[in-house]
């Protein structure tokens, strides 16, 4: 019930506010609603959620299911229960973190629009609140149909946010965004239908896990790719990224912040939540493919960012690059890289969200985002310069800030993604072909260049805007940040600093999640090994007692999970 409240409060109260609150006051109403939502989610995280991660046994459509999800709600859909469709939501460690990220960043989405949005305010804030509901539902859905619906629900408000309040080429950008997303989600829909008819006979994710569908779908590649198409478009991974720079550039600041901060994470979340656990074999087999795409995305995104003249476009391409790191970390399948990737999901929300806020603040003052229009701003707006510096450095990955603690484990982990090699035993199989391409050292070293390039383009941007001579007349009259703006950037800077200095607070729940995921893929990872006990770095503490025949199924997962919990 608490979770359902958290999800639907923005929508329901937003509708109510639309009816009773005058347009000029709508922003305060929206802020109030989101603060209430944040308080509820903090309450849920602090008091209702059990971070130790106890499992419980529940009954889902006549099957007794052991589930790690908490704060669950499960109601069979009226008249559709024979298809086993249900309104089913719940949180585990990963989704709890994502819900917190969403509720936090939602507030910034409202705060940064206070002055920027002057026309059709009611609609604007309603769409922002609707977007919040869509994202929260996506992060907590445990029924594939509900997940699909929430996934689509996210598209609608963003479509309007970009299309109505965007800048010049907004219609082109919003159409491109919608068509890309719809193409992906249709592939996902087909995959979901395929799953239903090929053994699952249910849309309940928890039940699918219990039924051990991962083993049954050992050779299913196409449905896995169908899911991945939807998720990777959302991430977005090269070469599916082309909608992102357009959408970001044209979106209002709030749209960009939410888009970069939270929406892109839904793609990674989908991979971690659904694609890998449901198709562990395909995920392991195709992992080299995704690692290579990720490497290309890292470098391509960075190089594109280097040549941009528009700051917002630059930050958008930097997003492509940084999301590449996350995908790389996910598909290395070892504990370090995976934890780093999940941590980086939060970090990217903070630092890129902050950068978009900063660009939005400049844009509000000068109505241009071209770097050539600026220069020497540090002298005129010192507070703004200092706070932006923190965001830039956090995005670059300076040790001591959050970017470092996310990217470093990914790079270390990518160096040692040996287990993928172990999977390549069958000659002439796709495994063996992919093995040929899996040079871990090459992957890692190419990815490292992404960090360097990141430093180059971000620092060059900072230099062009804030240093040099203050020669433009308009820039000499710029006003420094007001309290509301300082609050936004300061909070994000403090968060960046906090995570950079005390990553353990977040890594603890994150490790819980990544351990869980590695359990799921441990059998596929050892698939094809004859008599060799599986050993690889990073997961020794629980990866070594699997028998080598590859005949394990998921029934062993809870047992080893307990051991992991003890250690």
């Amino acid at each position: 019930m608490l979770l359902t409240l958290i999800i639907f409060i923005p929508l329901v109260l937003g509708l109510l506010a639309c009816a009773v609150v005058p347009a000029r006051q709508m922003k305060y109403a929206a802020l109030g609603i989101l603060v209430l939502d944040l308080l509820l989610s903090v309450y849920a995280a602090a008091f209702a959620f059990d971070w130790a991660g106890a499992t419980q046994t529940v009954e889902i459509f006549g099957t007794s299911v052991e589930t790690a999800f908490q704060l669950r709600a499960h109601v069979a859909w009226p008249l559709l229960s024979q298809f086993e469709i249900s309104y089913s939501v719940g949180l585990d460690h990963l989704s709890m973190l994502m819900v917190l990220l969403t509720t936090v960043l939602g507030i910034f989405g409202v705060l940064c629009s206070f002055k920027a949005i002057e026309k059709r305010e009611k609609e604007f804030y309603f769409h922002l609140l609707l977007l919040q509901t869509g994202i929260l539902a996506t992060f907590s859905a445990l029924d594939l149909f509900v997940f699909y619906m929430s996934w689509e629900l996210m598209v609608v408000p963003l479509y309007f946010l970009i299309g109505i309040w965007g800048s010049k080429d907004r219609l082109y950008a919003t159409m491109k965004f919608v068509i890309f997303t719809l193409a992906g989600s249709l592939m996902m829909l087909l995959a979901i239908l395929w799953m239903y008819y090929n053994g699952a006979q249910t849309y309940s994710y928890e039940k699918m896990l219990t039924l051990g569908m991962g083993e049954q779908w050992r050779f299913a590649v196409w449905p896995f790719l169908g899911l991945m198409a939807a998720f990777l478009i959302k991430v977005p991974l090269w070469p599916l990224h082309t909608w992102l720079p357009d959408a970001h550039t044209e979106a209002p600041t709030a749209g960009s912040v939410i888009l970069a901060g939270v929406l892109l994470k839904t793609g990674v979340y989908g991979i971690l939540r659904f694609a890998i656990p449901l198709f562990p074999y395909a995920a392991v087999a195709l992992a080299p493919l995704f690692t290579w795409l990720a490497v290309i995305a890292i470098i391509y995104g960075a190089m594109c960012a280097m040549v941009q003249k528009d700051m917002k476009r630059l930050v958008a391409y930097s997003s492509v690059s940084h999301m590449g790191f996350i995908i790389l970390g996910v598909f290395c399948f070892n504990a370090q890289a995976l934890s780093g990737a999940i941590l980086q999901m939060i970090n990217h929300g903070i630092s890129t969200g902050g950068l978009f806020l900063a660009v939005g603040m400049i844009y509000e003052r000068r109505h241009t985002r071209l770097m050539s229009e600026f220069g020497g701003l540090a002298a005129r707006v010192p507070i703004f310069a200092a706070l932006t510096m923190v965001m830039v450095l956090s995005s670059v990955g300076l040790p001591g800030l959050n970017g470092f603690v996310g990217e470093f484990p990914i790079l270390v982990g990518s160096m040692s993604n040996a287990p993928i090699l172990a999977a390549a035993r069958e000659p002439n199989s796709i495994y063996a072909i992919l093995r040929q391409t899996n040079y871990t050292w090459l992957v890692a070293s190419l990815a490292v260049t992404g960090v360097i390039l990141g430093a180059v383009y971000l620092l060059i941007m900072y230099q062009k805007v804030f240093f040099g001579k203050l020669d433009k007349q308009e820039n000499k009259e710029l006003l420094d940040l007001n309290g509301r703006e300082v609050f936004q950037l300061a909070v994000l800077s403090l968060a960046a600093l906090f995570i950079g200095l005390f990553p353990q607070t977040l890594l603890k729940p994150i490790n819980h999640t990544s351990r869980h995921l590695l359990e799921v893929v441990s059998v596929p990872l050892s698939f094809g090994q004859e008599n060799e006990p599986m050993r690889y770095e990073g997961t020794e503490e629980h990866g070594d007692e699997h028998d080598a025949t590859g005949e394990h199924n998921h029934a062993s997962a809870p047992a080893s999970d307990e051991r992991a919990g003890e250690s």
Partner: protein, 564 residues
């Protein structure tokens, strides 16, 4: 049939003909009232039109009621000497058609007043066309079906051109007539071939011969049909099952039974080997004829012009009700023909090809349209394509050997038709409501949200539902129902093409939404006048609400349709 006219005095039970009788007698009544009200009762033309509207509404409501209480029994037994057969599909289809006609009657008065149209003719033709359509949904005999198609088509030709002072309307009517007549020729030709191949024009028999053949198969004796086959009222399904066709003999037939020659003086029919080629040609020609009526590509050329030229409410009728009827007939034909074991292999190719071409052509053609009604015409071509995927699923051998699955696929089709009807009634209803602004260029919708926010929201509901992606509204579920059955039998390629088509469709449907919400109206845009009264808001509100409600509870449709 031949030579047996003496036994062909149809046994008519009132309950079987009442719904249709109401419609036809109602049509005649309107015709009479139209002449009499002015001359005898001395009514003003305005008053006369109001009375006619009221009477038409009552007639349709009566027909709806008789269908709704299931007068026909919907038990899939042929009646009226095998000419009709009401199953659940035909039953629900008829309800949909009458529902659409009710929407037509609600919206017609404003148009009649504005364009000074002859109300009596319009309502008479409406009732006749509805009679033709509802009869077609339950037709079980090819000649009867042909007559139904002609009744509905001829009425629709005239309804298309009823706005005589509008040149586009006349042009559309003429085009529709020429191509429709052409299509009718194909239909007749196909029917002739089917008759030549099987010896009967009845689709489903009364089941006695089928039962007997199945028993024979079960106990392992060779299939041997009784010689007094003519009394069996055999349908194409049973003929195909036996692999033999009925041959009508002029003389009494003799046969040797246990060494004795027995003569059957009353027998006029016997069985002979079936020629599959004729059958296939017959189906192909019939299918082409139906493709014209259903505006499936590549036989869709008339649709955009007719949709654009016809009065908007007539377009609504053509786009929804006539398609429901024709699809019901197509479903019954392919179901009967599927008893021929080779049928799916041959027919699935043409059916799938038509589906793919319709989806591709409809969706790509719609992209470049600037006129709203032409856009909907192409959209309806694409939707016909999605429905044809379901037809391809229906004849899949895997489906046909499983009664439960046939049921599911038929459910999918009828639900899709329901969804499609709702969305189009809403879209055309809004277009008709906005009059000049709604029926012309899409750019006329520019900034509609500021002028009429409720209408703009309703139109977005219609567009998103037509798009059928993502949000759980009725169009989405229609697509899910169709696609999931196709995935289940492994028609993945068709489904992927359908899915890609839907993505393309997002582009042009959302363009309407973009115009309404995201562009500001140009300075010279006038608010326009809309018809007063409750009729239009009622149609728009009801269909919009139904789209949303059935989106959350799709199976409610079947519950309301009488399935417990």
């Amino acid at each position: 049939m031949i030579g047996q006219f003496q036994t062909f005095v149809p046994q008519v039970a009132l309950d079987q003909v009442l719904p249709f009788a109401i419609l036809i007698v109602g049509g005649l009544l309107i015709l009479a009232l139209d002449a009499l009200l002015e001359a005898v009762a001395k009514m003003t033309p305005e008053r006369r039109d109001q009375t006619l509207t009221l009477v038409t509404g009552l007639v349709l409501a009566g027909a709806f009621g008789t269908f709704a209480v299931d007068m026909l029994g919907a038990n899939a037994r042929p009646f009226l000497e095998g000419a009709f057969r009401a199953d659940e599909f035909g039953h629900l289809g008829a309800l949909l058609i009458i529902g659409t006609a009710l929407a037509f009657v609600l919206m017609a008065p404003a148009l009649i007043k504005r364009r000074k149209l002859p109300a009596g003719e319009m309502y008479t033709l409406l009732l006749f066309s509805v009679a033709g359509m509802t009869l077609l949904t339950v037709a079980n005999e090819l000649i009867t079906a042909f007559i139904c198609i002609e009744i509905l088509s001829l009425s629709l030709y005239v309804l298309t051109g009823i706005d005589r002072r509008n040149r586009r309307s006349s042009e559309a009517s003429f085009k529709y007539f020429i191509l429709g007549a052409f299509a009718s020729a194909f239909l007749v030709f196909g029917i002739a071939f089917l008759f030549g191949a099987t010896g009967t024009t009845q689709l489903f028999g009364d089941g006695r011969a089928y039962d007997e053949m199945q028993t024979a198969e079960k106990i392992g004796r060779p299939v041997q049909l009784p010689t007094d086959i003519a009394n069996y009222n055999m349908g194409i399904n049973e003929v195909l099952y036996s692999g033999q066709r009925i041959v009508y003999a002029a003389q009494p037939v003799s046969e040797v039974v246990e060494g004795q020659i027995v003569t059957h003086p009353n027998v006029i029919a016997t069985l002979a080997p079936l020629n599959p080629m004729w059958l296939f040609i017959g189906f192909a020609l019939l299918f082409v004829g139906l493709c014209f009526k259903l505006s499936l590509a590549p036989f869709h050329m008339w649709a955009p012009d007719v949709y654009e030229g016809a009065p908007t409410i007539t377009t609504m009728l053509i786009a929804t009700a006539s398609k429901v009827a024709a699809f019901a007939f197509l479903v019954h034909v392919v179901e009967a023909l599927s008893f021929w074991r080779f049928f799916p292999a041959g027919a699935s190719f043409i059916i799938s090809a038509v589906a793919v071409i319709s989806i591709a052509w409809g969706n790509l053609g719609a992209i470049v349209q600037t006129n709203f009604k032409r856009l909907l015409a192409y959209s309806s071509i694409a939707h016909g394509g999605y429905l044809t995927i379901a037809i391809a699923t229906l004849i899949h051998p895997e489906v046909f050997s499983d009664l439960g699955r046939i049921e599911r696929v038929r459910d999918a089709i009828v639900f899709y038709l329901f969804a499609y009807t709702l969305m189009n009634v809403l879209a055309f209803g809004i277009a008709a409501y906005l009059g000049r602004q709604g029926e012309g260029e899409i750019s006329n919708f520019r900034g509609l949200f500021h002028r009429r926010p409720a209408i703009a929201v309703a139109m977005s509901v219609a567009m998103v539902s037509l798009m059928g992606l993502g949000l759980p509204i009725v169009g989405f579920w229609g697509k899910i129902y169709v696609f999931k059955e196709a995935v289940d039998v492994g028609l993945i390629a068709l489904v992927v093409i359908g899915a890609l088509g839907s993505v393309v469709s997002a582009f042009y449907y959302l363009r309407v939404v973009v115009e309404m919400f995201m562009r500001d109206a140009s300075a010279d845009a006038e608010a326009g006048t809309v018809p007063q009264g409750f009729a239009y808001p009622l149609v728009i509100g009801l269909s919009c609400a139904a789209i949303v409600i059935f989106g959350f509870l799709p199976p409610l449709f079947f519950v309301l349709g009488g399935r417990g």
